[in-house]
């Protein structure tokens, strides 16, 4: 029977994949043709969703984007046997957009049926755990440390060092917490992993548990991801039934239990201590550090808190070894980064590459330039707390240290492009507004500063033309306020809001009613 693949990823669904799948099934029935429909994850070429594939002897071939109205024509053209059709794209693996990538964390994404455990295992799944179960905790931690993996949530803290702290913290109970509160605009790689390859996250968390001696894991999932919730719960259920989770994982005598907890729409809960408060059933107020969560985390116990991508990268490291992973990348940024192309781009989607590619390659070679066809004027990298970069910085390589040199962050690898119609003063105002909406309220610079920031941005907009003397004063106020927030906030929400604000002001002064020279000084 011929296998036909129609993705079940949220983005594919948002563009009508369910209707396309139903149309294919109905048309096949009508023509008395037997097909096997598989709802796979997405390959990440989101501008081409719904991205339909057909299995052939030479490999899977793609037809995209397929809407229900295209389906009868596809059957007429005998697409099940690679018949000629305007939507035919050839062998999926040969598409240059995919071929140019280095997919390690995303090795299986889009290829397998996300909830099929058999499919996962057939595609190298659970090899990492098998190795881990034959190693001591300290040895597993050493592999993770040697791989050079750094926290992919944004803070880029070495994962192995965090694990080592938890490993060496004596306690009856320890926890693994997965931060799946992916709230940054322009990011969706966590969502893709959870929806399109959930077992890789489950395996990564299980390995973390085995390594540090934790028997309970929680996935703190944002409430805005209803599809991910369903997929994760189904996968956890199947993994438990098959003995990959539970009291005796793979007959090793070791226990690891996993549960998904729904967040409730607070951006600040992506901050690890606020997340822990929320998991404990409280308001998501940021905690003072120390104590570190690795020493006193969830319910006061030693806790590993890692992002989805960090944990989902663990299985391949344990499978292929630390050196294999560390051989990718540049400088102190080892391995690969799943980059998410978003905003005003012609070809948005998931690009996993070794560190070191430039923004320009991503925006133009992969992204295909702006969707509107107008020049790309500004790019925000790393979510709502990331800096805005002008065209002159597009040659910066994606590397944690290279980005800090230009006072920017890589964050979670989201890239949001804006064309020339963007008003950067408005974006700066929005950054303050977002901070005001999402502030947990514990520290003054964030709670009050964000609201004052919105007010002063409104004054700047008003005084731009008519009142130059008060205008200069307001600009200075934004700088002073940013300085206070930067240095006085308890966590990154208040502490990094000045990144989008000041980068907008410094790189695009004309939008603030200033000429370039006034700022360059």
């Amino acid at each position: 029977m011929i296998k036909v693949y129609v993705p079940r990823d949220s983005t594919a669904l948002s563009l009508g994949a369910d209707k396309t799948a139903a149309a294919i099934v109905a048309e096949a029935q009508k023509r008395n043709i037997q097909i096997e429909l598989i709802r796979n994850g997405s390959r990440g070429l989101f501008w081409l969703e719904p991205f339909v594939e057909v299995a052939t002897e030479k490999g899977r071939v793609a037809f995209a984007p397929v809407q229900p109205k295209d389906v009868p024509g596809l059957f007429d053209a005998d697409f099940l046997h690679s018949g000629a059709h305007p939507l035919y794209l050839g062998l999926t693996e040969e598409l240059s957009w995919l071929k140019k990538q280095q997919r390690l964390t995303f090795a299986r994404v889009g290829i397998t049926d996300p909830v099929s455990l058999q499919d996962y295992i057939a595609h190298d799944g659970y090899k990492g755990l098998a190795n881990a179960l034959n190693m001591s905790g300290a040895d597993i931690v050493k592999v993770v440390t040697d791989s050079g993996l750094r926290g992919r949530g944004g803070a880029a803290f070495p994962t192995g060092i965090k694990w080592n702290t938890v490993l060496n913290a004596p306690a009856e109970q320890k926890y693994i917490v997965c931060n799946a509160d992916e709230g940054d605009s322009g990011t969706y790689s966590d969502r893709m992993v959870m929806e399109d390859d959930p077992y890789v996250l489950i395996e990564g968390m299980t390995i973390a548990g085995v390594a540090v001696g934790a028997t309970q894991g929680y996935i703190y999932l944002r409430s805005e991801y209803p599809h991910a919730l369903k997929v994760l719960n189904e996968a956890i259920e199947k993994a438990t039934q098959a003995g990959y989770l539970g009291d005796n994982i793979c007959g090793s005598g070791k226990a690891f239990h996993l549960e998904v907890r729904r967040a409730a729409g607070a951006y600040v809960c992506g901050e690890e201590t606020s997340l822990l408060e929320s998991l404990e059933g409280k308001r998501g107020l940021v905690r003072f550090k120390p104590p570190l969560p690795a020493i006193e985390g969830l319910f006061g116990k030693p806790t590993v808190v890692n992002n989805v991508i960090s944990l989902a990268t663990i299985p391949i490291i344990l499978d292929k070894g630390a050196q294999f992973y560390a051989d990718y990348g540049m400088g102190r940024s080892r391995g690969t980064l799943p980059i998410q192309l978003a905003g005003n781009l012609k070809q948005g989607g998931l690009v996993e590459l070794a560190f070191g590619a430039t923004l320009r390659e991503l925006l133009y070679d992969f992204g295909g330039g702006s969707a509107t066809g107008k020049p790309i004027r500004a790019v925000q990298v790393g979510g709502p707390l990331g800096a805005y970069l002008p065209e002159s910085q597009f040659d910066t390589p994606l590397d944690y240290e290279e980005f800090s040199k230009i006072w920017a962050v890589l964050g979670h690898g989201g890239i949001v492009a804006f064309d020339e119609t963007v008003d950067m003063a408005k974006m700066a105002r929005y950054a303050f507004e977002f901070c005001a909406i999402e502030s947990c309220g514990k520290c003054t610079p964030c709670r009050i500063g964000s609201t004052r920031g919105v007010e002063v941005m409104d004054k700047i907009a008003a005084s731009k033309q008519e009142n130059p003397s008060s205008h200069a004063k307001h600009i200075q106020l934004v700088r002073d306020l940013s300085d206070t927030m930067l240095n006085g906030s308890l966590c990154a929400l208040g502490g990094m809001t000045p990144y989008p604000v000041l980068s907008a002001l410094n790189h695009f002064p004309e939008d603030f009613g200033l000429n370039k020279k006034e700022v360059a000084a």
Binding site: S10, S14, W47, D184, T187, K282, R283, F299, L341, G348
Partner: protein
């Protein structure tokens, strides 16, 4: 705003509490269960929840009001969330939200007079490669323009 809960609603709230009270950190799971069932978390339920979880009513109130997701009032039959985050702004979300507000005749956090649709802002739906995005109940849509949103709203209105 005080409403009196029916005995049936009270029983449903009790069932939600009972199903989750033993979980570690049970408050959020309990609140999610109640909202999934009733569509919101009634203030009148705070004492019940507080008592079952050995918390103060103030603590329950604090948690419900801290999180954007929890609603304190009944909502319309459908909830439409429009993404206001940067990626969607880059693709015209502001125009879209203005269009929806005027088409429905309501602002954010309000419900249409016929009780069909409640409008809410949201900050990222994880569909940023196909902005602008909206979520109608649990159905996600991408590359939404004014024409597409009209169809989405119409479909919701005619559905039961």
């Amino acid at each position: 705003m005080t409403t009196v809960l029916t005995s049936q609603e009270n029983a449903r709230i009790d069932a939600c509490i009972e199903a989750h009270r033993k979980m570690p950190g049970a408050l959020l799971p309990v609140l999610h269960a109640i909202q999934n069932d009733l569509g919101y978390v009634p203030e009148e339920a705070y004492p019940q929840i507080a008592h079952a979880l050995a918390l103060s009513v103030a603590e329950v109130h604090g948690v419900v009001t801290f999180y954007h997701h929890f609603r304190r009032h009944p909502v319309g039959k459908h909830v439409l969330q429009i993404c206001r985050a940067e990626s969607c702004q880059a693709m015209g979300a502001e125009k879209l939200e203005a269009h929806v507000k005027s088409a429905l005749g309501i602002d954010y956090h309000q419900t249409t007079a016929d009780g069909a649709i409640t409008l809410e802002p949201v900050y990222c739906l994880g569909n940023c490669a196909c902005s602008p995005a909206v979520l109608m109940d649990e159905e996600l849509y991408g590359r939404v323009d004014s024409q597409k949103i009209e169809a989405i709203i119409h479909e919701a209105r005619v559905s039961a």
